[in-house]
């Protein structure tokens, strides 16, 4: 378990696949979460969740028993891109889930000069994708840059009833259709990890990211200079243990095992 050799001063935790699976807490995660709060190790929840607002995420976690999480502990892509859109005075076509629209209050949406893709799930339909495509095509024809912002680029995630397409394949579809290159807000963009690390006043090599997505969580964290530990819960598949490009710093059964290992190593 090489990831324990250097001090683990703070943690970044993924939510879906580490704390919960769909509408259920993952076995052991509640206990793990309580232990973390007891030992007082700093942490941030780093999620690519874009079907709902941060506020709703906090509520859902609370209902499952993960209480006393302040919204400021959660790092999610929608608020990050909304800030960026405001700073750049962008006018956005929002291909996002209706439930996350509140994060975009105040963003101009008429005569769009960029496209934002979030996890729209069942709201990904041909008509909306075609509209987004036409915004990008028009920018290309006007010799302007095709600004395509993607809130993460995950391929799929796990729900109770099985694996589900994430937004990544839909961003990829728009890239294929137009030749645009999406800018990623959220995992695995190193900027996203660094924002959470800096918020805890840490440096990347002091922090361990725990997640179920070998590419987005583990690979992304490693490229940002953190250690990346893979859990065997959530969307984990056996083939991830022998991934062609990403070698996790550690692989654990679940969050509880990770926390227990941290505690026993530092006692």
């Amino acid at each position: 378990m090489s990831w324990l050799e250097k001090p683990v001063k703070a943690l970044l935790l993924d939510i879906s696949g580490v704390l919960r699976d769909g509408d259920q807490a993952i076995v052991g995660s509640l206990e793990a979460f309580q232990r973390l709060q007891e030992i007082g190790i700093p942490f941030r929840l780093v999620t690519n969740e874009t079907q709902v607002t941060v506020q709703k995420t906090v509520e859902k976690l609370s209902k499952l028993g993960f209480t006393s999480i302040s919204p400021s502990l959660i790092f999610a892509p929608a608020p990050a891109v909304a800030t960026f859109l405001k700073e750049t005075l962008s006018r956005a076509f929002l291909l996002v889930h209706p439930n996350v629209l509140p994060e975009f209050d105040g963003i101009e949406t008429s005569d769009p000069n960029c496209v934002v893709v979030g996890d729209a799930a069942e709201h990904f339909n041909y008509s909306r994708l075609n509209e987004a495509f036409r915004v990008l095509l028009r920018l290309r024809e006007e010799n302007k840059e095709m600004q395509l912002y993607s809130l993460g680029k995950g391929k799929y995630y796990k729900e109770e009833d099985g694996l589900c397409l994430d937004l990544g394949p839909f961003t990829a579809a728009l890239e294929y259709a137009t030749g645009a290159d999406a800018r990623i807000f959220g995992k695995p963009n190193p900027v996203f990890f660094h924002a959470a690390v800096q918020d805890m006043k840490m440096s990347p090599d002091e922090v361990v990211m725990i997640g179920d997505d070998i590419l987005g969580d583990v690979g992304g964290a490693q490229r940002a200079g953190l250690r990346g530990v893979l859990v065997r819960t959530g969307k984990f598949r056996i083939s991830d243990e022998n991934h062609a490009t990403v070698k996790p710093d550690g692989i654990v059964d679940n969050l509880l095992q990770a926390v227990n290992l941290i505690m026993s190593h530092y006692n």
């Binding site: 069942e122 394949p169 579809a173 294929y176």
Partner: protein, 286 residues
């Protein structure tokens, strides 16, 4: 410049024809732009067809459509005055069907309802292949997720009829099938096999459907220098570019090099240029 090209073209035509003599045994003829443009037959098209039938030459009309069944294509041509039988038309859908049958595949069909007719009698239980055609009505989350779940079984495959990025519709450009094939390729880290026109698979399957094994005995006649002529040549066939439909002056330069001595170009010896389909048939079936 134009005169130089014309002279070179006819010199090459004779040179090429001599080389081809007695080799061409079957004809593949594009429909849209070569036989007709929208609702009008191109002059001489019926003559060409009748000559093919009279000389008992093997032929098939080919089309890229993946949104309509062959029976619909035949009906539409009939209303223009060209009576073909279903067996005389080979579409991207036919090629897809042949590919599935030849490889013993059980398809989950993400194709337009109008196209389903081409796949009747195929076993679709416990599918091990997802087939993607141009199906805007089905390019939504629910349908794509179903395809995705089938494809997450390691041995299951993606078959794409084609990967066009977008196409012209009444109210502007619209997403083609390509982005949705890419959607599934990205999600599953798998690569689709493309079987519709102008893929190599298409031309090979068309040739096999006519009982031939050697592509150099076949010629493809069409107005699209890329999808008709180059596509066929890349499959090992001969090509004949006609100056109707989509053809634009200078298209043949993509086949011949320009200026000075023509450099050896893979397509050159295997391609002719003719004004219309009728001229092409007269050149090739004296």
């Amino acid at each position: 410049m134009i005169l130089k090209m014309f002279r070179r073209t006819s010199f090459l035509t004779n040179k090429v024809l001599n080389e081809w003599d007695n080799r061409i045994q079957c004809f593949f003829i594009d429909l849209s732009g070569t036989v007709h443009v929208d609702k009008e037959l191109i002059p001489g098209a019926i003559n060409a067809f009748e000559k093919l039938k009279k000389t008992q030459t093997k032929f098939k009309f080919v089309t890229n459509t993946s949104k309509e069944a062959v029976s619909t294509t035949v009906q539409n041509l009939d209303s223009l005055g060209l009576q073909l039988s279903k067996q005389e038309v080979y579409s991207s859908l036919t090629a897809t069907r042949d590919y599935l049958v030849r490889n013993n595949l059980r398809p989950h069909l993400l194709v337009a309802d109008e196209a389903l007719e081409e796949f009747e009698s195929l076993d679709t239980n416990d599918p091990n292949t997802v087939v993607v055609g141009l199906a805007p009505m089905k390019f939504n989350y629910k349908e794509l997720n179903e395809c995705f779940r089938i494809l997450m079984k390691p041995e299951n495959k993606i078959v794409a009829i084609n990967k066009g990025r977008y196409y012209k519709t009444r109210d502007g450009m619209s997403l083609g099938a390509g982005p949705f094939v890419f959607n599934l390729e990205f999600a599953t880290s798998k690569e689709a096999t493309i079987v519709g026109k102008p893929s190599k698979e298409f031309f090979i399957n068309a040739m096999k459907s006519i009982g031939h094994e050697d592509p150099s005995t076949c010629v493809m006649i069409g107005d699209d220098v890329n999808d008709d002529v180059m596509g066929a040549i890349e499959a090992g066939m001969h090509g004949c570019l006609v100056k109707t439909g989509k053809y634009r002056p200078g298209d043949e330069d993509k086949l011949f090099s320009v200026g000075g001595d023509p450099e050896p170009y893979p397509a050159k010896e295997r391609c002719l240029v003719a004004n219309t389909l009728e001229d092409a048939i007269n050149l090739l079936l004296p």
